[in-house]
């Protein structure tokens, strides 16, 4: 394992002691949204940021994007200051809600964001075609976004976040407002992009999604990071063992109970596993489609857009799931010092 202090190329996000205090009109401190947050996201990781409403997740993300100035502390994203426009070309961002121009059509919306990335007309057309196909909106691409359902708007939001083939994807509640099919597609997409070497910062309330997808997780509350580590580190229960096998008749269970008793152990829980509601839902929808039932909403998405992760400037990197064992990583402040000068630092008593 490489020492973090010398692994600048592998680290896409570093926060060191980041604090954000919102002030009122008279510049008096009003809300301390984020306090002394330390984070480090390595290239190729899927990093989960968890926390209840108002815990500081979205504020942290907006500081990473340069939309907010930290009150104190230092941030480096892709090796530069968050406000540096050079890095924005490698970042894809899906906010917690899709803030779109309601009068633009789906295609015009993607075209607009393609222009912001300086894509020429041909590249824009090709990528938009692929993305519309990927998110299943090509049939409604000419309708104004204002007429879209919330889930469809999320899909177009997701498409815009990918139009530049980003190295770093920041997704704030990506499955919010989506039907289970769309949510499943997004989870598949995140996994696919991670496999192609993309770094993903995922902010979500859906703990199951985060557990399924993330290599590392930080749990925030009250603006602070309360726990940080890999899912295994955080979730493993050392005092219990779970075995799964085919259905057991009652006599066999009794034998197992007896065997465990001989080892001074008790069988605490015997139950039949249940399938998830998600899998049942997906099965029903697939069946309905196979029967040709009509729908006026978004279609099922297509394949992951071909350009994602395969352009010349994107270097696929193996997923960095092997973070240092034994709890939170040490924040690489040496890297920060070399990249970023301190922001206007201000200490306010909590």
């Amino acid at each position: 394992m490489k020492a973090l202090g010398h692994a600048g190329d592998d680290i896409d996000i570093v926060c060191a002691g980041v604090t954000k205090v919102f002030r009122d009109f008279w510049m008096r401190p009003r809300v301390r949204a984020v306090e002394a947050v330390d984070l480090q996201v390595r290239r190729g990781q899927v990093y989960g940021l968890l926390g209840p409403n108002g815990s500081g997740k979205s504020t942290t993300i907006k500081m990473l994007l340069g939309l907010l100035q930290p009150t104190s502390g230092r941030i480096a994203v892709l090796g530069k200051r968050p406000k540096d426009v050079d890095i924005k070309g490698s970042i894809g961002y899906l906010p917690e809600e899709s803030y779109l121009y309601q009068f633009l059509s789906g295609r015009e919306t993607l075209d607009y964001y393609g222009r912001l990335f300086r894509l020429d007309g041909r590249a824009r057309r090709e990528r938009i075609d692929m993305l519309l196909d990927m998110v299943g909106l090509e049939a409604v691409q000419h309708r104004p976004v204002g007429e879209y359902s919330k889930g469809m708007q999320r899909r177009i939001g997701l498409a815009q976040s990918l139009i530049n083939d980003p190295q770093l994807l920041i997704l704030d509640e990506p499955t919010s407002g989506m039907d289970p099919i769309g949510a499943k597609q997004i989870k598949d997409l995140i996994a696919t992009l991670a496999a192609r070497g993309k770094t993903v910062l995922l902010c979500s309330h859906l703990l199951g999604d985060v557990e399924d997808l993330c290599d590392r997780v930080a749990i925030m509350y009250g603006g602070r990071v309360r726990a940080e580590g890999t899912c295994d580190e955080l979730l493993e229960q050392e005092h219990a063992t779970l075995l799964e096998t085919a259905e057991l008749p009652e006599p066999v269970i009794a034998e197992v109970r007896e065997l465990l008793r001989r080892h001074d152990l008790a069988l605490t829980n015997v139950q039949r596993p249940r399938r998830t509601l998600e899998s049942l839902f997906l099965e029903i929808v697939e069946q309905a489609r196979a029967e040709g039932v009509q729908t006026s909403g978004a279609r099922s998405g297509g394949a992951v857009a071909e350009f994602l992760g395969h352009s010349s400037d994107s270097q696929p990197v193996a997923p960095a799931t092997d973070g240092p064992a034994g709890g939170a990583e040490v924040v690489d402040t040496g890297l920060l010092d070399s990249l970023v000068t301190p922001s206007a630092s201000e200490r306010i008593a909590p």
Partner: protein, 584 residues
């Protein structure tokens, strides 16, 4: 047994658990039947509306009512012009650059938001309707002047409102709805964002100003073809309205003597009351100068006054006639209908001479009169000396015949044609566009820091102050009792400081507060350019030349320098602004 898919181990493959979208059956429909019907109706509604309007116009035309027919055709043409112009703008703004992308989006926003569409429709309907409200019994020259003045002024005000509303609502809307988060998380500098907004608004303004120009020109041409009251009316239309005339103001024929007389008067005042003179020497100079010029422009019954116009070489060579524009007043007349009677000499020769007799002019005092003089009367060196002799009769009850006076400036000037009406309109429209470009930048700068209502109010205030700058400045000076016409900043500051100290020393607190108020008002006024300095609408409506130099200066100042400064301020504010507020 679970049927969960192994998500964590997903490989590049189709995203969906469902069928391949290419296998979606052909009967898949994205739109409800009502939506489809609405869309189809929309597709046919517009051409049908255009055909219906043109059909009504044809019916009115052949039914002997050409005026409303022309109005309907005008409305349809302008509306089609807007549609085609927007399509052209979309084509123009198709490049893959962020600034162009932002500009393109604000054009779409203008087309897609009700307020902008409503204001544009108001322009499209009001302009062709204006000729309908003109009194057909009025002289044609006056009708044309009224049409030009009101159509250009009205369009200018409406376009200013559109510019302010669109600029403010676009930026404030982006910030309030957080769309700006999406834009600024892309490789887009904040100055590029503001520049894109400005570019979109000014291109839209350029389109609308062009359409207004085409509409005004077309209706002015239609009015020109209307019957005139008489030959003088027709000549006034051609020579005083639909033209571009330069003006010359007179100098004193014996300028050195005139200057010496002024100097002598100043010396006398300085000797008589040195304290008063030293308090504000510049104001004393101006007062004495104005008195002498006024006396020079007053023709007493026993005096012959001469006025020398110079620099008329071009007029002599290129035109047949020059116009002497004069607005006489009778200084001791108690009624506005009093007449003035005078005789005229041009370069020492009597004019006009008919049948060997030097004829006199008799005009009503008060209104403006225009005399057409032969350009051949101008001397080879380009000078024309106009001499006026008072021939007023002694009226019963008056001690002496009435003096004839002219207000220095526009009360007595010489005008001559130097360009075409078309060129004048074009330059006037360019200046109108430059003012809109300045307003757009001011509105964007305000919106980059303030919320929508406050930004709109601030922008409207800038517009109002820019329009009424001269008047406001004079009003503040009168209110506070401070002469603001000092030639230098230091003398003005010195005078105001002295006045303030005097008032404080005398415990005249209210006057002192008024003086401080005048400082603040003047400081604010000095930050905002005066649109009155480039009053192209009045110039076009009165057939006065909007010169190329004036146009270039206006476009540079209002269309480039101020917008750059204001956008710079807007960028500075936006750069320091947190675009997210706390939700707690």
């Amino acid at each position: 047994m679970t049927t969960d898919l192994p998500i964590a181990a997903a490989r590049p493959q189709p995203l969906s658990a469902g069928p391949d979208p290419r296998e979606i059956p052909s009967w898949f429909d994205d739109e409800s039947p009502q939506g489809r019907r609405k869309r189809r109706l929309k597709r046919f509604a517009r051409p049908l509306a255009v055909l219906g309007a043109l059909g009504s116009a044809a019916a009115l035309w052949y039914g002997g009512r050409p005026a409303p027919a022309i109005t309907i055709v005008g409305i349809v043409s302008l509306a089609l012009g807007v549609v085609c112009g927007v399509a052209l703008l979309r084509r123009l703004l198709s490049a893959g650059h962020p600034v162009i992308g932002i500009a393109r989006t604000i054009v779409e926003e203008a087309v897609g938001t009700r307020l902008s569409v409503l204001l544009v429709m108001l322009v499209v309907v009001a302009l062709p309707t204006l000729p309908l409200v003109l009194d057909p019994g009025e002289r044609l020259a006056y009708r044309l002047q009224f049409f030009l003045d009101w159509s250009l002024s009205g369009a200018s005000a409406l376009l200013a409102l559109i510019t302010i509303a669109l600029s403010c609502s676009s930026v404030c809307g982006d910030i309030d709805s957080r769309r700006i988060h999406m834009a600024l998380s892309k490789p887009l500098q904040r100055w590029e964002y503001l520049l894109g907004k400005w570019l979109g608004v000014v291109l839209l303004d350029l389109l609308l100003v062009s359409l207004v120009g085409i509409g005004v020109y077309a209706f002015a041409e239609a009015l020109r073809r209307s019957p005139a009251a008489d030959n003088a009316d027709r000549r006034a239309v051609e020579e005083q309205v639909l033209t571009a005339r330069a003006s010359a103001r007179p100098v004193h024929p014996r300028q050195q003597e005139f200057d010496k007389a002024i100097e002598a008067a100043i010396t006398q005042i300085r000797n008589d009351d040195p304290a008063l003179f030293d308090k504000d020497p510049a104001a004393a100079h101006r007062r004495i100068f104005a008195q002498h010029v006024f006396l020079w422009h007053t023709v007493s019954p026993d005096v012959v006054s001469s006025y020398l116009f110079t620099g008329l070489e071009a007029a002599r060579l290129r035109t047949q006639v020059v116009q002497l524009r004069l607005q006489p007043f009778a200084d001791n007349s108690s009624t506005s209908t009093a007449e003035v009677r005078f005789a005229l000499w041009l370069n020492e020769r009597p004019y006009p001479v008919k049948q060997g007799k030097h004829e006199e002019y008799v005009f009503a005092a008060g209104p403006v009169h225009t005399l057409e003089l032969p350009a051949s009367a101008i001397a080879e060196d380009g000078t024309l000396r106009v001499t006026i002799a008072n021939r007023n009769m002694l009226m019963p009850g008056d001690p002496a015949p009435t003096s004839i006076g002219f207000n220095p400036g526009e009360g007595l000037e010489l005008l001559y044609r130097v360009g075409s009406f078309e060129g004048n309109v074009l330059r006037g429209l360019l200046l109108m566009w430059a003012k809109l470009a300045m307003l757009a930048a001011a509105a964007l700068a305000a919106a980059s820091w303030l919320g929508l209502p406050v930004a709109m109010l601030a922008s409207l205030m800038v517009f109002a102050v820019a329009v009424a700058s001269g008047f406001l400045s004079a009003a503040f000076d009168i209110y506070t009792g401070v002469d603001g016409g000092n030639p230098t900043l230091t003398s003005m500051l010195r005078l105001r400081a002295t006045l303030l100290l005097e008032r404080v020393a005398k415990f005249e607190w209210w006057d002192a507060i008024k003086t401080i108020g005048s400082y603040a008002a003047d400081a604010f006024l000095s930050l905002i350019p005066s649109f009155g300095d480039y009053d192209s609408i009045t110039q076009v409506a009165t057939g006065r030349l909007v010169s190329l130099a004036e146009t270039a200066a206006g476009v540079c100042e209002l269309g480039l320098a101020y917008p750059l400064l204001l956008l710079g301020i807007g960028w500075w504010l936006l750069e320091r602004r947190d675009l997210v507020s706390s939700s707690s």
